[in-house]
C-alpha cells in the first residue's frame, strides 16, 4: 500500500503540483502553444506575408489532397522512416552497449562517435556528397574494387534515399547511443551483481536484466526517433545533387513546408501541410503510447 503523507491531498497537493509544473507550463503556453494555435489558424487563411491574411476555409486542405508533390513527399518521408528508424534504433543500442564497457580508450570512441552529431548538416552534407559521388567518391570506388558498378546515388531519385539514410544513421548514431547510455547507467548494478552470483552469461544478463530495465529508455527513443524522422529536413534539403532527378523528386514533408512558407510565400498552405504532418505524427505516437503497457516495464509502478 502506498504510504500516505500529510499534505498529500487537496489544496496542499495541488500547491506542490503547481509549484513544479507552472514554470514549464507557462513558458510552453506562451512560446509554443500560442504559436501552434496561430499556425492552426493560418492553415485556414491565404497569406503571402506582405498583405493581410485572407480567410479561405478548407481550400488549403483541399489543394493539399490533390497536390501530387505533397503525396510524393509523404512517400519519401515514410520510406526514410522505414529504413532509418530500425537501423538507428538497433545500431544505437549496440553502440551504447559497447560504450558502456570499461575498456581502454572507450572515452576516445565515445567522443569520436559524437563528433558527427555535433557537426552541422551543412558540413556533413558536403563531405558525404563527395563520398557518394558516382565518379570520384569513396563508396563507388570501394564497390568497384569488389567488381560492382556503383549506382548514381544522389543523382538518381531511387538510390538517393539510401544515401540519405546511410548518412543520417552515421550522423545520429552517437546521439541515439547517448540516449541509451543515460538509461543504461541508471540500471542499478545490484541486479548484475546478483546475476553473477547466479552464474548468468553475458547474453543472459543482456536479455533478462538489461533489456527489460532499459524499456523506458527504449520507449523514449522510439518516440523521439519517430517524431524527429517525420520532421526530417536538413539532409533532404542539402544533399540531392542540384538539377538532377533526385533534386527534382526527392522531397520530405518539411522541405515542402519550408519551400511553400519561405520561397513561395504561401504561409497558409505551409501551415495546412504542417497540420497534416502533426496529425500523422500524433496518431503514430498515440498508438505507441497505448502499446507501451505491453512492453515497457517501469520500476516505479
Amino acid at each position: 500500500m502506498r504510504v500516505m503523507v500529510a499534505g498529500d491531498t487537496g489544496w496542499q497537493k495541488w500547491k506542490w503540483v503547481l509549484f513544479f509544473i507552472v514554470p514549464s507550463l507557462a513558458g510552453l503556453l506562451i512560446f509554443i502553444l500560442i504559436p501552434i494555435l496561430t499556425s492552426v489558424w493560418l492553415s485556414f487563411q491565404d497569406w503571402n506575408l506582405l498583405s493581410p491574411p485572407e480567410f479561405i476555409g478548407l481550400a488549403n486542405f483541399q489543394e493539399l489532397v490533390n497536390d501530387a508533390s505533397f503525396w510524393q513527399a509523404l512517400q519519401y518521408t515514410l520510406g526514410y522512416i522505414l529504413l532509418y528508424l530500425p537501423a538507428a534504433f538497433v545500431l544505437g543500442l549496440g553502440l551504447a552497449l559497447l560504450l558502456n564497457q570499461k575498456l581502454r580508450g572507450v572515452v576516445i570512441v565515445r567522443t569520436a562517435t559524437f563528433l558527427p552529431v555535433v557537426a552541422s548538416w551543412v558540413v556533413v552534407s558536403l563531405i558525404w556528397k563527395w563520398i557518394f559521388n558516382p565518379q570520384y567518391g569513396l563508396i563507388n570506388y570501394g564497390l568497384s574494387l569488389l567488381g560492382i558498378s556503383g549506382p548514381a546515388w544522389l543523382f538518381d531519385a531511387n538510390t538517393a534515399l539510401y544515401a540519405l539514410v546511410i548518412t543520417s544513421v552515421w550522423k545520429d548514431l552517437g546521439y541515439v547511443a547517448v540516449l541509451y547510455l543515460g538509461g543504461l547507467q541508471s540500471i542499478s548494478p545490484i541486479y548484475y551483481e546478483a546475476s553473477q552470483i547466479d552464474g548468468a552469461s553475458a547474453w543472459q544478463r543482456l536479455w533478462f536484466i538489461t533489456l527489460p530495465l532499459l524499456t523506458p529508455t527504449m520507449f523514449f527513443i522510439v518516440i523521439i526517433l519517430l517524431i524527429n524522422s517525420f520532421q526530417v529536413f536538413d539532409q533532404f534539403w542539402l544533399m540531392p545533387m542540384r538539377d538532377s532527378a533526385a533534386d527534382r523528386q526527392v522531397e520530405a514533408i518539411v522541405t515542402a513546408v519550408v519551400k511553400n512558407a519561405f520561397s513561395y510565400n504561401r504561409m497558409g498552405y505551409a501551415s495546412a501541410m504542417s497540420m497534416v504532418l502533426f496529425a500523422l505524427i500524433f496518431i503514430v505516437t498515440f498508438v505507441q503510447l497505448r502499446l507501451q503497457n505491453r512492453w515497457v516495464h517501469y520500476e516505479s509502478e
Binding site: L49, L50, S51, P134, D243, S244, A245, R248, S263, N265
Partner: protein
C-alpha cells in the same frame, strides 16, 4: 536548502535580464544583402560620406546573407517593423510593389540623376517609381584563350552566332577526351535569355492571360540549347558528376563558359589566359540584366531622409567610385567617366563587353507566384537536359503549370 534553490533561481533571473537592447532612435535603418560579407566596410564608407553631407541623419546598417535575407525582410514587414530603406532584387521587386510595401518615390528623385533609363524603368510599377536601381550584372561568354590557340581557332567576336560557337566547341572537344567545348547550362535563366535571342519565343501572350511557352519558336530555342549536349561538346549533369561548372572552367578543361561577370575576381588567378565576349546570338543579341534596387518602405516615418539616402547610395559619385574600386557590382549609371578604372583592370581585357551587353538587356519574366514558376519550369527544363523529356513535352507541361499560376 530552499535558499540555495532560490539563489540559483535569482542568478538565472539576473542573467536573463542582462540585455544589450539597442537604444531606441529615429535614425534610418537600412537592410542589405549585397554588402554581405565582403563589402561591409565599403558600405560604411558610403554611409559616412552621406552622413557628412546630411548632418542630423544617421544610417544604421543591418545585413544578412542573400539566402536568408528575404525571409528576414518578410518577418520584419509582418511584425510591423520594416526597415526604412532596403534592398530588393528585380525578381522580388514586383511582389513587394504589388503588396503596397513600397513607397512611391517618384517625387523624391531628382530629374538629373544619371541612371540608365532601362534600369530606372525596370523598377517602376504601374507607372510609379517604386525603387531605384542600385547595381547590375550580366552574363557573358568566357573563353579559354589557350585552348583556342591550341585548336588553332580565332577568338569569339561580337558577331558570332551559336553555329560559330558550335564549330569552335567541336574543335576544342577534339583536343582531348576530358576537354569540353562549351558550357551553357540548360535551365530556366538561360532559357528565357535564349528565348529573347530567338526573338519569337515569348513566355506570355500580349495581355498576360495565357502562357505561350510551348510555341514552335520556343521548342526550337530549347533544342538549340540541347544541341550542345547532344553533339557531345557540353557535359550533361551526370557527366559533370558534381564538379561545379566554374570549377571545370578553372581547371582549364573547358573552352567556353557562359557565366556572370561576378566571376571576374574568382577567375583572376586562373593558370591560363582567358577573356570575355558578348554572347553569340540566335537571331539577335540578348543578355541577362540582373539588377538590385533600393526601395523605401511604405511605413517609414522619414520618407524624405530615406529617399535621400536611397538616391545617394545608388547614384552619387562617391558611391559609384567606392563600388568600382572594390569590385562590388556595377552601379546602374550612365556615366562613362565613372567606369574608367573598372575598364582598365585585367583580366579580362575585353571589359567593354559588359557595357555592350547592356545594349540588349533582358529581364526575367515575372509574375506574382514567381518562385513557383521558376522552380517548376526549371524542373521541366532540366529533365530535358537529362534526356527524360522531349522539348515539346516539357514546354507543354510548362505551359499548363504557368497557366495555373497566373489565373
Amino acid at each position: 536548502m530552499l535558499r540555495k534553490f532560490f539563489l540559483i533561481g535569482m542568478i538565472l533571473l539576473l542573467a536573463l535580464t542582462m540585455s544589450t537592447a539597442l537604444a531606441q532612435d529615429t535614425t534610418l535603418r537600412y537592410f542589405t544583402f549585397s554588402a554581405d560579407p565582403d563589402h561591409l566596410e565599403d558600405l560604411d564608407q558610403i554611409v559616412a560620406a552621406f552622413e557628412e553631407a546630411n548632418p542630423g541623419i544617421t544610417v544604421e546598417v543591418e545585413h544578412a546573407p542573400f539566402a536568408d535575407y528575404f525571409t528576414l525582410l518578410q518577418a520584419d514587414v509582418v511584425s510591423g517593423d520594416a526597415p526604412d530603406v532596403f534592398e530588393l532584387n528585380y525578381e522580388n521587386f514586383v511582389t513587394y510593389a504589388a503588396n503596397d510595401t513600397l513607397l512611391d518615390i517618384s517625387s523624391y528623385v531628382s530629374a538629373d540623376a544619371p541612371y540608365y533609363p532601362r534600369a530606372l524603368e525596370a523598377f517602376q510599377y504601374e507607372g510609379a517609381q517604386m525603387a531605384l536601381p542600385e547595381s547590375f550584372s550580366t552574363v557573358l561568354l568566357f573563353y579559354n584563350a589557350d585552348l583556342f590557340d591550341q585548336a588553332g581557332l580565332d577568338y569569339p567576336t561580337d558577331e558570332w552566332t551559336w553555329d560559330d560557337a558550335m564549330t569552335a566547341a567541336q574543335a576544342i572537344r577534339a583536343l582531348g577526351s576530358d576537354t569540353w567545348g562549351i558550357f551553357s547550362p540548360v535551365q530556366f535563366w538561360e532559357f528565357y535569355k535564349k528565348a529573347a535571342q530567338n526573338g519569337e519565343c515569348q513566355f506570355f501572350n500580349e495581355d498576360m492571360t495565357e502562357s505561350t511557352i510551348n510555341s514552335e519558336a520556343c521548342v526550337q530555342t530549347l533544342d538549340t540549347m540541347m544541341s550542345f549536349i547532344n553533339e557531345d561538346v557540353m557535359p550533361s549533369t551526370e557527366e559533370l558528376s558534381g564538379v561545379g561548372d566554374s570549377d571545370l572552367f578553372l581547371s582549364g578543361k573547358l573552352g567556353m563558359y557562359v557565366s556572370g561577370i561576378w566571376m571576374f575576381s574568382a577567375f583572376a588567378d586562373a593558370p591560363f589566359n582567358w577573356d570575355v565576349q558578348i554572347e553569340p546570338m540566335i537571331n539577335q543579341h540578348a543578355h541577362h540584366f540582373f539588377a538590385n534596387g533600393v526601395a523605401v518602405s511604405s511605413t517609414t516615418e522619414n520618407p524624405e531622409a530615406a529617399a535621400a539616402w536611397a538616391q545617394f547610395l545608388t547614384s552619387s559619385e562617391t558611391a559609384a567610385s567606392v563600388r568600382l574600386a572594390s569590385n562590388w557590382e556595377l552601379p546602374a549609371l550612365d556615366e562613362p567617366s565613372y567606369f574608367e578604372s573598372y575598364l582598365s583592370q585585367t583580366p579580362p581585357a575585353n571589359r567593354t563587353a559588359v557595357f555592350q551587353a547592356l545594349e540588349s538587356p533582358v529581364v526575367p519574366p515575372v509574375i506574382e507566384r514567381q518562385a513557383e514558376m521558376q522552380d517548376g519550369v526549371n524542373a521541366l527544363i532540366t529533365q530535358v537536359a537529362d534526356g527524360t523529356l522531349t522539348s515539346q513535352d516539357a514546354l507543354d507541361q510548362a505551359k499548363d503549370l504557368i497557366d495555373s499560376l497566373i489565373q
